[in-house]
C-alpha cells in the first residue's frame, strides 16, 4: 500500500522530459479545457450536465480556433520576414 503512494509522491519530485518540438504545443489542450470548464462553472446559472458540457465544449472550441488562427497569422508573418522580404530587398535578413 505504501509503495504505490511513495511512487506517486516521488513522481512530483523530478520533472518529466519534454522536448522543444512542435509536439510540445499539445500541452496547450488540457489547459484550454481547464480554463473553459472553470470559466463556464462561474458563468452558468445552474449546472446541468449536458448543457454545461455543451457550453464548455463551445468555449473550448472557440479558444482553440482563435489560437490556431493567431498561430497561422504569426507563422505567415515570420515566413514573410525571414523568407520573402530578404529576396525582395536582395539582402539577407541576418
Amino acid at each position: 500500500m505504501t509503495i504505490p503512494i511513495a511512487y506517486i509522491l516521488a513522481s512530483f519530485t523530478t520533472p518529466i522530459q519534454i522536448d522543444t518540438t512542435a509536439a510540445s504545443m499539445v500541452w496547450l489542450v488540457p489547459l484550454v479545457a481547464s480554463i473553459a470548464i472553470v470559466y463556464k462553472a462561474t458563468k452558468v446559472y445552474q449546472i446541468r450536465l449536458v448543457a454545461f458540457l455543451k457550453e464548455s465544449a463551445a468555449l473550448f472550441a472557440s479558444i482553440m480556433v482563435f489560437i490556431i488562427v493567431a498561430a497561422i497569422i504569426l507563422y505567415g508573418l515570420e515566413w514573410f520576414v525571414t523568407e520573402r522580404l530578404p529576396s525582395l530587398l536582395h539582402t539577407s535578413a541576418f
Partner: protein, 150 residues
Amino acid sequence: MIRSLKDNHALFLIVVGSAAWLVPGGGHFALGQQRRAGVIFVTILLTFLLGLYVGSLGVIDPVGAKPWYAAQIMNSPAVLLLGAHVMLVQRQAETGQMDVQEAGTVPYRVYGRPNEIGQIYTSIAGLLNLLCIVNAIYMAHLTAVEETKR
C-alpha cells in the same frame, strides 16, 4: 450560524472569500452550490497537480520566479508551505547539510520546457481560483442583498 454571519455583511463576504481561497470551490460550497463547487475543485486541483507533475515541486520558486509564485499562491495557502519546503530543501543542499544524489545537483531545480509548462499550469490554476474567489464573493453579496430586500 450562517444566518448570523449573513447579518454581518462584510464578515460574511470575508468568510466566503477565505473559504474559496483555502480550498478551490470552498466559497461556492459555503453558499450551498455543491455541484459548482465540485466542478471548480476537481478542475483546478487537476490543473495544479498536472503542473507539478510536469515540472516537479521546483516550479514553485518563491525566490527566482516571484510573479509566477504570486499567481500560484492564489490556489491555496498550502502553496506557501510547499514554497517554504522547496526553499528549505534547496538551502540545505547548497550548504551541504543534505546529501544529494549527484554532485553539483540541487533538489527541485528544473529548467527548460518542463519548467515553463509547469509554471504556466500551476499559475493559470491559481488565476482561475482567483476568478472563482471573486465570483463566490459576488454571489455571496447578491444572496445577502436579496435576503435583506425580503
